[in-house]
Symmetry: C2
């Protein structure tokens, strides 16, 4: 069944109008007709079943149970990657359950985002996150953000656990740390996981992470691309916290 996010707060029995995006998709793309039903997530992340009326308004039929979000709030904090990889990370990390996805201008980032283009880029990424959240049947749309430096990101983000995926950790065989950490986290705690850009994380950035008591964790013995590592991480979080 289709799922749409709407900006208002719903309750059973309510009748509301579709905004233009939802209306276009449900009525035109999906050819929705009176009597058809869809799922609606309201601004409080509550899920409802809605039925389309003749006048194309929607009546809220009932509230629905939903347990689709990770038990912890994961922020993916990725060094700005090349090309369209940022879009790709946003889409996949949203599917995999990230609570928010942030990029930072890393010491070794090849890509640069010009300040005057930043707003437009974030708007586009936020739209990708919403589409992926609808498709994954989530009730939360990850927020997408950008920080000029890792230092700024760490200063502005609040978290209970800070973690960095470090390629060298694989070589040093530090493979048990991630699972150990995940077995210690409590429900609703906030994890910030840092990933380097293609060039990797600079010694200065590693030093900064060490000063902030970041856990250095390996993600298995294979070298993962910058856009792949966050997905491995999110799947590992889900495996340890949702599959057992």
């Amino acid at each position: 069944m289709q799922r749409y996010f709407i900006k208002s707060v719903l309750k059973t029995g309510d009748q509301f109008q579709l905004d233009s995006n939802v209306s276009k998709h449900w009525l035109q793309v999906m050819r929705g007709a009176a009597g058809d039903q869809a799922e609606f997530v309201d601004s409080q992340e509550a899920l409802y079943l809605g039925q389309l009326n003749d006048d194309h308004s929607v009546t809220v039929v009932k509230a629905l149970e939903s347990h689709v979000e990770l038990p912890v709030e994961v922020t993916i904090l990725s060094g700005l990657p090349k090309q369209d990889k940022a879009e790709w990370i946003v889409q996949k990390a949203t599917e995999m359950g990230a609570n928010s996805i942030c990029f930072f201008g890393a010491d070794w980032s090849v890509a640069k985002w010009q300040p005057n283009k930043l707003g437009k880029k974030l708007t586009r990424l936020q739209k990708i996150a919403q589409g992926a959240a609808e498709q994954a049947h989530r009730t939360h749309i990850p927020t997408v953000n950008y920080f000029n430096t890792l230092k700024q990101a760490i200063a502005e983000l609040s978290f209970d656990h800070l973690l960095v995926a470090y390629e060298e950790a694989a070589k040093q065989g530090e493979q048990a740390r991630l699972v150990k950490l995940l077995n210690q986290v409590k429900p609703h705690e906030r994890l910030v996981a840092v990933f380097g850009p293609e060039g990797g994380i600079s010694p200065a950035e590693m030093e900064l992470l060490a000063q902030n008591q970041a856990t250095v964790a390996g993600l298995g013995p294979r070298i993962l691309r910058t856009e792949t590592a966050p997905l491995y991480f999110l799947a590992a979080v889900s495996t340890i916290l949702e599959l057992q």
Copy 2:
């Protein structure tokens, strides 16, 4: 350090000539000069350190230890997806440690591969697998294959465990089965994991999988795209078998 796959069998002290692909990449793209070193995986998947000579031949300096492959042999068996998603799945599943990646013409596959184009498509995918294996520093290049139907795939593939990622399983809350299975597998056992195309797995295909004692496993509560599910699966395998 660069890593290249070569077709011959090596031993310490050997001197060998670079094939044209490796030569082009190492000498021209990477500007390799006499005295430079690279890692070479030979046809028996053994890893060696090699040093470039003045005449552009390579001398095998020594054998290197390597533990980069998953402890079990995972075959990703994916319903043929749309567009370039097959290439994407091959690249990412190789990074994530798949032993082989196979596609099958699923009942609900929208994409079709014409028999006369099959060879060319598989050659291209195999090339992507080799590049990803080198980049991920693996010692095994996944084989890429295509089967006309799921029935043919199951008949021709040999395995110890057959598993299917079923979207409905998430709704039925069958979330513990994957971890349970992974905790039972023995080293070097062969897992075949089946994933549907965008349209999903047909009832007839589910019936066929049931007849073959396939484990129906959920991959968490979120709906994953056809190209995302195999990555979640491979990361889960690594998390359970490599990170603890």
